[in-house]
Structure formats: C-alpha cells, structure tokens
Symmetry: C2
Subunit: 319 residues, 2 copies
Amino acid sequence: MISEFDLIAQFFTRPTRRASLGIGDDCALLTPSLGHQIAISCDMLVAGTHFFSDTDPRDLGHKSLAVNLSDLAAMGAKPIAFTLALALPAPDAAWLRPFSEGMFALADQHDCELIGGDTTRGPLNICITVFGEVAAGQALRRDHAQMGDDIWVSGTLGDARLALAGMRNELKLDPHTLSKAAARLHSPSPRVALGLALRGIAHAAIDISDGLAGDLKHILERSRLGATIEVDALPAGAMLSSQPMELRRQFILGGGDDYELCFTAPPSSRAAILDAANSTGTPVTRVGMIEQLPGLRLIDSMGSQVASSSGSFDHFLTK
Amino acid sequence: MISEFDLIAQFFTRPTRRASLGIGDDCALLTPSLGHQIAISCDMLVAGTHFFSDTDPRDLGHKSLAVNLSDLAAMGAKPIAFTLALALPAPDAAWLRPFSEGMFALADQHDCELIGGDTTRGPLNICITVFGEVAAGQALRRDHAQMGDDIWVSGTLGDARLALAGMRNELKLDPHTLSKAAARLHSPSPRVALGLALRGIAHAAIDISDGLAGDLKHILERSRLGATIEVDALPAGAMLSSQPMELRRQFILGGGDDYELCFTAPPSSRAAILDAANSTGTPVTRVGMIEQLPGLRLIDSMGSQVASSSGSFDHFLTK
C-alpha cells in the first residue's frame, strides 16, 4: 500500500518556483506583491454529485482546477498558487498519474503552482483552494454593477448542460454531438486572460457555474438592481443549434458548468471591451442591460416578454 | 429541502470584520500587512477515517478548525481567516447548528474569520484552509533545526491515542479515564499563543498530529540532522499514568492527534523559552537534543538505548 507521503512525493511534489515555501512544512508561505490583495476561492468536487465516478481522471484533474481558476478570472485576479485536498478510496497510481497530469497541464498554462494540501482515505472528494493577486481596489466584484450598464457574456452557453442531458439519457444525442458537447462539460477553459483584461473596464463580473440566469441574479441582488436579457441574443453553444427553441433557451439560461464570464460595463466602454476580447482571443456578446427595477426580465427579439419559471430555469436539474 | 444558499446564509454568514471582502463573491479578498507573508495550511477530515460518524458535531466543528490552527501555530503565524468546504449527505440543521457553533467559538478565540468556501451534497467531508500572517523571514520552519539544539514539546502526549484505544475497544478503560482522555482527542487546543511567542527564539517547529517520533523525523529529515530523545523525560498525558510502561511509551511516541508543538532551540534560549511558556500559560518540557548523526535514537533515564520498531511506533494504528 502506497503511503500518503509516497503519494505526495510521486505525483504532487514539484520544485517551488514562486511561493516562498511550498509543499513539505506545516504551512506554505506566499509573499504578496506590494499593494496587491490576495483573492481566494475554494471549490469541492464530489463523485456522484459533480461528476460520474468513471470520469476520465485527466479531465477531472483539469476541471477541478479550472472551476477554481474561473473564480479568479471573475475577480480579474492573476493566478499564483493552489492547495489540493484529495480523499481517495485507495491510493491508485493508474488514476493519480493522469489526474495529476491533467491538473498540472492547466496549472502550468496559468503559471499557478501547487503549494500544499492533504491526501487521505475516503470517498472520492477533490477540494482545491486557489490564490490569485489583484491590485488593491481593482477586483471585479459582484456588487459594483451600475444602472445603464450593458450585460455581456463570454463564449457560448448551454453545451455543457446538453452533454449532461445526453449522459443522463434525458435526451437522445448522436455520438458526434455528445462528444463535442462533453468536451465543454469535462474540459472548460477558465477565462483568466479576459478577466485580467477587463480590470478597470468592467464594473461587475461573475463566472457562470450554475447557469446565466441564476448567476446574473447574484450580481443583481448584491448590486441592488435589476436587468433585462434578450434571450435570442444569447450566444448558444454550437451543439445546441439542432435542439428545439424552448430547450435551447432553458439550457442557455439555466444550464450550469459553462464557466464563461458574465460581466457588466457602461455603454461608453464597448470599444474597450471588444479590444479586450480581441486581444485575449475571447468572443464576447452583449445580451442585455442593467436597470433600476429589481428582478430579471427576459424578452425575445421582438421585445415581447418571455415567461420563465420562477427560481430555477432548469426543469431537469435537481442538484 | 434547504438549499446551499440558505445553508450558507443561516449558519455560516457573519459580518466581515478583517477581510477586505468575505463570503458572497467569486473570491474573498485579503489585504496582507506590509512586510508580512501569508501562511497557508489545508486539512481534510473524512467521516470513518478521521472521526466516527456519530462524533458530537460541536466537537467536530472545533476540531476541524483546531487542526488547521495548529499548523499556523507550528509556523509562528497569527491566524487571520479560513475557508470551509463541506460535503454533507443531507442539509441537516440539527447537525449544522452545533457544528458551526463549535467552529465559530474557536475561530472567535483566535480572531480568525470565515471568508468563503463551498457546501455540497456528498459523504461527510470537512476541508478547511486556514490563513495566517507572519513577518517575512520569521516563520518557524521544519528545515531550520541546528546541531546542538534542545528538543522541546508543549503540553502532554498520548491521551488522545489512549481515548482512541478505548473507543476502538483495543483497551478496556474506566468511564472517567475514557471521558477525560476523549476530551483531548475531540477538543484539542491549538498552541497558537506559544507559536507566536517562539518567533525569534525557536529554530524549527512542527505540530504533533501523527505522533512525536514521526513528526520529529520530518524536522530531522528536512534539516538533515538526527536526534536523541530521552523517553522517560517525555510528558505523559494525565490519563496514561496507570497504563503499563511499554504502552505508555508507545502512545507518547506514536499516538497522533495530540496537536502539541515540538520545537528546537539552542541551549542559550532556555530562559527565553520558559518565559514564552509562562507568558502564554503553556507547559513545555525539554526532551532531547539535535545531533549530527542522522536518525532518531531513544534512551531511557539510565542512558540505555530503547529499542523501537522501525517506521511506526504505534503497533495498533493502521490509518
């Protein structure tokens, strides 16, 4: 039986490049840059709740870190480091090797290093806490949207939810559609570069992990404002196009796991936002407007109100 | 069914006092003090591995944070904040209320605030990441022990392991002994004040979570030195006194969950250490010496070598 220390040494210990002290002491030590704040986010992924237990461990290593980097992106924070706590039913090198490779491949892309954590016996559970840096006062917060702001989203929405529907047999999908959609579900690209480029431009931002409608509501509630979204302007995932309109809207508005950014900015910043999108290679779409009247209203391209079930937009989803 | 957001609001959201931004955004924001490093540690506690699933939730809330604060203590770092990720089989207010009360009671003692985290459905799993501050260069590291240093331990050792033996029916204990010993197991007091007082005095420190012998070996390996411990000088837990000598030694050297500090310092600092102990109300005992020769040697009060099984000192323990 491989021990905890062997596990850490074999799969998770790499030379420390940025942290003042990495794995191997009671604590890691980070030395913050002068005038910067440390942004901290934490996500726990559980087998059976967040992923199927037969998920490719390489995808899972990528995704576990990606969902955390996405939170840094939504703050406009530059990734620095992360900790990994991992509960495993048994130490299994055939699982740990691809898991660690998937995780480190993404970590290296963002120059974000593993500085500590914990490994233990237990039902499969992956808990990552990520650390970023942002100049004091520059973070993109949820509570800073302003009346008259445009509402933007990055990339496209709904394909991750479509994959889930296929995997759960809620929908019958052809293998090509399922496989393309599943790539969005399993291997999201956190919008770190866009988040950094939006500092000083966007007023408020959030990452879309639970569905656009639900996540935008967090911005509205914390900013004490409302919004109207034009549903036909929303950028649908490529694999959604052959689905019926009602389901398309539902998955775009209520489907989670997209890990795109939703952000608000004044109309005077439209050119700056398109520059930020261009320079980071990230498509962005303007989808609505922040208003004084509380609540979220949906309109179609004719300006007619679209009915939505209160609360969740996703009638399937029961997580 | 209570939702994640309701859960967080009801049991875990309190006004933010120190952090620049607390619960409720994509990330929390900490603003480090000038010239200070951020010390970070992360521990995951799993039902069935680290605690019995019927453990009093108030004790569990205390202990989950205590084991993390103990890591800050071992670095000489001042607690600032923590994140909590919690997987629960079902949202259960009757469990969450005492759990959160136990956790916050200890957090308040150390002025350490909850700034974020995650709650999800899954087998019971508690993952806390804790943040402390320490002036750059002042942290008590494992790799800074020096030849000729005294080895010290705080408090007493072995009672937590004795309680575990009683609860597992490895030993028959009378109810009074079991209850007193179990208090050490379930409600450890992290030695934060002592850790802070030892900055600038101790060379190296570690907290004793896996047993003195195993944890001291981490200091020895990272400092590339060895040590001799006088086993009869080791401070035994009060409840161990009526146990046979062999078992006493075994539990003192190999029993985990004591959460005392083991630290090294030059003989010239003995008076300063006793001052630090006095001013923080923490008993400390000098138990051995750091030597050039690698490895850990045990002697009795007559100076005779005491045999020890290689590797683990705990023949019962199989975690």
